[in-house]
Amino acid sequence: MDFRFSQDALDLADGARSFLDGANPPERLRSEDGRDSLWPQLAALGLLGVLAPESAGGLGLHDDSFVLIAEAAGRVCLPEPLVALAAISVPAVLATYPDEVGGLVRGDHVSPPVHPLAPYVHDADKADAFIIAGPDALYGVPSSKARLTPVKSIDPNRNLFRVEADLTDDLKVGGAGLCAVMAVRGATYTAAQLLGLTDAMIQMATDYAKEREQFGQPIGGFQAIKHHLASAQVKLEFARPVVYRAAASLDVDSIARQQVHAAHAKIAANEAARFASEVAIQVHGAMGYTFEVDLHYFMKRAWALETIWGDTAHHSMIINQAVIDGGLDIGPGTTFDAA
């Protein structure tokens, strides 16, 4: 029992964070061109293959090594769908057509996940194929057989399409169990990105509060501003271990337990991000309401991620079914598996 990240996981995440901080500064978000220009480097650094076996060119690591990378991607508001591909598509392909994983890891093939809870797909126009969760099976759909309808997101860095296809038997690649896994992975890793976004928004607002002067002093000296930001920080601090546990649980727990853990993670991260975004804009004042500062990119990404892969209402029903209807007890045996 040691609920900490391994030094290897921390080192890997540090590396990813340094790369992302350098390669995806806020300026990059302001341009709508080259939204996928980092793909070659993300692949070259092995980030697409963290969860893929070494035999497929991956690092052969576990989810508790990728969750910090997902958080780092959220923290810089990365436009590339690194997290969806590396943390949802790679495991899905590994479970169905393991020979195809190498292509995904190298970045040669792009097969984003599509799910009723995440029906709009970023950069779907650049995909070779889609992994689509149907009502009771998983489907692999080449892009030629998918219908894309462009839709517009409030997040200018999400180039969204509604993806639909006739889910015929010949496209079936796995059972309903894999769809459930996809949903759990989607919720957990979206939550991880929301942690990063929350962290970034608190940091931006804190930096602004240190600089901006009103009434003859930095506004960060006013207790009202301090307390807003401290409250956001508390929400972040207590969402983090919940998300990390959900990620660690992906490798070891039953799907039923994973669902509860992922639901808790998504709810906690949603709440932290929504709260931090409202605090961050309030601290920024009118400035936060504009394109003059970069906060709005992070807020808009957070609003988008809050609703996909299950919003709070959806996940709250999962917790309700487990706890109120199902009698899942709190405490040892629920916190961690084997008590």
Binding site: Y120, V151, R274, G285, Y289, F291, T307, D311, A313
Partner: protein, 385 residues
């Protein structure tokens, strides 16, 4: 016993507004007034309103109004928002500068400015803030120095709402260059096409230029455009800010209309909503109703000669936090569609647009932090440190 019944005259007035709005409100929504096309659509709507003599119903007839009382104004607003009529692009004029002119303007100024304001012929921007003076208006540095029968303005304003497309602007300037803080400021009115004025639009959350920076390079404004006494601008601005937080700017009907839409949305989405959403929807309904009740009470007091005091700060906190809660709740009912904007996402877009707009509520017209300070100090008498 309290008289809580509308009179026959009230009922007739309500019927008149309702019928006129039903006949004239555009069938499809206008574009946002923060883009040029939408601004012009909204200006056109003001002229249609004027054709029915609805520009500003509480104003005296000579200034383009109907001279009705505040209860009738509330009835007008209820019917206006009930008909889903467009937002008022003229609000800086009719709700803020107009009342200020009534109180502090010369007869010539009232006759010159009020009628075209009510008619939508002159749309006003406001010029309070400067880069170093947001909530802290005492930090204003832009100078307007007397030179013969003109003021010569140099400096910069920011967060000027409507400025990208408006005709005129009112603002606070330092007329005494040696003065500090609240002293030596004056309220001056100027056309936005004056020589030496440069306008740089600022993109707001939705990407539209909701505000602008205004740069002044030796802009000459005739002294008759001074509002009130020279050097007394702070008092005048405080009166205007009182109007901003007071009765007119955010009439309850607006929030009641949003609460009604929220109930309708909830009825459609209740199968997938979490239980707490129902209570939030009902809270929105109740709070919008409470805000209406409070406003009827304030209107009754003003009609009997009363004034709005520091409770205006309570109003501003209440409606701005209600508006944000209401739109946050609406968004939470939309699932994965909540992030969509543009064509084909009208319902969703309306909640998202409304949410973004609501995020400005706790910031403008004095942040809610400032309002809470005011309540603590002026209503409760806690010490200023």
């Amino acid at each position: 016993m309290m008289d809580l019944a509308y009179t026959d005259a009230h009922r007739a007035f309500r019927a008149e507004v309702r019928d006129w709005m039903a006949a004239h409100v555009p069938k499809s929504p206008l574009k946002t007034l923060e883009c040029e096309e939408g601004f012009n659509q909204h200006r056109e709507w003001e002229r249609v309103l004027k054709s029915g003599n609805w520009g500003m119903v509480t104003w005296p007839k000579e200034f383009g109004g109907r001279g009705v009382d505040l209860i009738e104004w509330l009835i007008f607003e209820e019917e206006y928002y009930g008909a889903d009529a467009p937002l008022r692009v003229s609000q800086n004029g009719i709700f803020l500068l107009g009342p200020t002119l009534m109180e502090f303007g010369t007869p010539e100024q009232k006759a010159r400015f009020l009628p075209p304001m009510a008619a939508g012929d002159e749309i006003w921007a406001q010029g309070w803030s400067e880069p170093g003076a947001g909530s802290d208006m005492a930090g204003i540095r832009t100078k307007a120095i007397r030179d013969g029968d003109h003021y010569v303005i140099n400096g910069q304003k920011t967060w000027s709402s409507r400025a990208p497309f408006a005709d005129w602007c009112f603002g606070l300037f330092r007329t005494d260059p040696e003065s500090e803080k609240h002293r030596g400021l004056s309220m001056i009115l100027f056309p936005l096409d004056s020589e030496g004025v440069t306008i740089r639009p600022i993109a707001q959350l939705d990407g539209n230029p909701g505000f602008a920076e205004i740069f002044f390079d030796n802009v000459r404004v005739p002294v008759e455009n001074l509002l009130g006494e020279e050097g007394k601008g702070w008092n005048i601005a405080m009166a205007t800010a009182g109007f901003e937080r007071g009765l007119m700017l955010r009439s309850p009907a607006r929030f009641q209309a949003a609460a009604k839409r929220l109930v309708e949305l909830y009825r459609k989405k209740q199968d997938t909503a979490r239980p707490a959403a129902r209570d939030l929807v009902l809270q929105a309904w109740q709070d919008a109703e409470a805000y209406a009740l409070s406003t009827y009470n304030t209107a009754s007091r003003i009609m009997a000669g009363g004034k709005i005091g520091a409770e205006a700060s309570c109003n501003k906190i209440f409606w701005s936090e209600l508006d944000r809660m209401m739109h946050r709740t609406g968004l939470s009912l939309l699932g994965a569609e909540a992030e969509l904007i543009g064509d084909g996402a009208e319902a969703a877009g309306r909640w998202l647009d409304g949410y973004m707009f609501s995020l400005a509520g706790p910031i403008y017209a004095g942040t809610n932090e400032i309002q809470r300070n005011i309540i603590a100090e002026r209503v409760l008498g806690l010490p200023r440190i």
